[in-house]
């Protein structure tokens, strides 16, 4: 029979088919578990599910290969020795890849960033944006200008990371200067009312509105507001403009810088219409 035909040594066609079947089944089990993980853990972050799925899938594939190879009379001891030597050579050649890979594993354990977080990595505007994907070797970010930035995981792991979304709420601050002749109490009330009216300016922690400084040209009112981290920029923009417009509607204005100059002697003004 064709199944009993020897291919090499004592390995027959049936051995080959059995080995292939074992590898195929292992890969199928791995894939099924990986797919179901996505379905079961819908609430888990995409990057975490993807990493776990990949680990499970490749573990099953490797186990399948390790079971199948002895059937094909492949000596694993020899392979391991050869593999060891290869590993040293490849290790030197791909040092940075391995560093990035290990950093990627630690990133997925520590999870300082998640997909859709707004982060700044290593400071600077260039690496500030929304995390699009955390792969095993690199992390990709979409900057606010829509630019794709790929950062090797080693850099992500070793640099300082500012995650603007890690906490659920975030505070921002304005300094609003008004004229000395304006009613500061009225200005405080107006600003307080506008913050109360804005749905996304959080009730708790409460906003702070107070006169912080009597400046050379203005009475400086400090306004501190908490907003949900996902919405803080929108709230910051909307409220600043509303405060400016509403204060002006109430004849409370932001003054220009003023300088009072005193002359020791009387001044004589010369010119055509001078008085």
């Amino acid at each position: 029979m064709i199944l009993d035909r020897e291919l090499y040594s004592t390995v027959t066609v049936s051995d080959l088919l059995l080995a292939l079947m074992i590898m195929l089944i292992a890969a199928m089990i791995g894939k099924t578990i990986a797919l179901n993980l996505k379905r079961i853990f819908k609430d888990m972050s995409k990057d975490r599910i993807a990493t776990i799925s990949k680990i499970i899938y490749y573990t099953f594939v490797i186990v399948g290969v390790l079971i199948a190879l002895p059937i094909l009379e492949v000596n694993l001891t020899g392979l391991l020795v050869a593999g060891g030597l290869m590993a040293i050579v490849i290790g030197f050649a791909s040092q940075s890849i391995v560093t990035n890979l290990i950093s990627g594993i630690f990133l997925s354990i520590e999870k300082p960033v998640k997909v859709e977080d707004v982060v700044s990595i290593g400071g600077g505007e260039g690496s500030m944006g929304m995390v699009e994907e955390i792969r095993i070797i690199s992390t990709t970010i979409r900057t606010f200008d829509g630019v794709y930035v790929r950062i090797p995981n080693e850099k992500v792991f070793t640099n300082s990371i500012t995650n603007f979304m890690e906490n659920v709420a975030r505070r921002f601050e304005y300094v609003v200067g008004i004229r000395y002749s304006d009613d500061a109490d009225k200005a405080l009330e107006i600003i307080k009312g506008l913050i109360e009216d804005h749905p996304l300016a959080l009730k708790e922690p409460p906003p702070q509105i107070f006169v912080q400084n009597l400046g050379s040209s203005s009475v400086d009112i400090t306004v501190r507001i908490w907003a949900p981290s996902t919405q803080w920029f929108r709230v910051r923009m909307e409220l600043l403009w509303k405060i400016k417009k509403t204060l002006e509607e109430n004849d409370i204005k932001v003054p220009f810088n003023q300088q009072e100059v005193w002359f020791l002697n009387d001044l004589e003004v010369q010119g055509k219409d001078a008085k």
């Binding site: 853990f41 819908k42 609430d43 659920v168 709420a169 959080l202 009730k203 922690p205 949900p228």
Partner: protein, 235 residues
């Protein structure tokens, strides 16, 4: 006011107008609340429209599934006891279109101003929709287009007197019922200790004959979402 309507129809109150007009092969849906106007083209020849009070967590955007009700007058409850009080909650009105077995929410609006707050601390807390309510001993009279009523059964399992200033609920557990005079939910609050309690809802109407409102926060679609809210950030 709440319930099913055959297309086309028109519904006007002092505060809003809902209108569907025949237009070409379908209908034009228009909703007006003050200066806010929403218009949509519905491409169907037969469909029903349903107006229902829904979980008050959709406006101005779906930001959270937690509703925090701050109590205007705090509740003090004695140890190992059970009491019942009534609170109000803001109503959001959902307009649903349905034909055969499928339904679609086409519009959500509210006649109450939305506000958000943070329950707990900044790093571990929860963003909640905010509402302030008086604590009533009996079912209060409300405008069903503005406010609903929560019957809250409080069980103090601790050995201390407990003072309650706020209650937080999870939208995935909310079961809203309505009739011509009332929009209502029934909820439970089990106090474990001074700053920890668990809230959830009872899937039964407050009065006989009340109809169940349509739900947007459906637990079956989010199997890992619980229906309870564990209040660990203080009461």
């Amino acid at each position: 006011m709440y319930g099913d309507y055959e297309l086309p129809f028109q519904l006007s109150t002092d505060e809003f107008t809902l209108m569907t007009e025949t237009s070409g092969d379908g209908f034009t849906y228009t909703r007006t609340v003050g200066e806010d106007i929403v218009s949509k083209q519905i491409l169907t020849d037969t469909a029903k429209l349903n107006i229902s009070p829904i979980e008050p967590l959709n406006l101005p955007m779906k930001l959270t599934s937690a509703l925090q009700i701050e109590l205007e007058n705090a509740i003090v409850i004695k140890p190992q006891s059970k009491r019942k009080v009534y609170l109000t909650f803001p109503v959001e009105l959902g307009v649903f279109l349905y034909a055969e077995r499928s339904q679609k929410s086409i519009d959500i609006f509210s006649l109450k101003k939305p506000k958000y707050t943070l329950y707990g601390d900044v790093s571990t807390g929860t963003i909640c929709k905010y509402w302030k309510s008086t604590v009533f001993p009996d079912i209060p009279e409300t405008n069903i287009l503005h406010e609903g009523v929560i019957e809250l059964s409080i069980k103090n399992n601790s050995i201390d007197w407990i003072e309650i200033h706020k209650v937080v609920f999870n939208a995935y557990g909310m079961k809203i019922f309505y009739d011509e005079d009332l929009v209502a939910m029934r909820a439970r609050m089990a106090i474990k200790k001074e700053d920890t309690s668990v809230t959830d809802f009872i899937n039964k109407p407050l009065k006989k004959g009340m109809k169940k409102a349509l739900e947007l926060y459906i637990k079956e679609k989010q199997p890992l979402k619980g229906t309870r809210f564990i209040m660990e950030g203080g009461l």
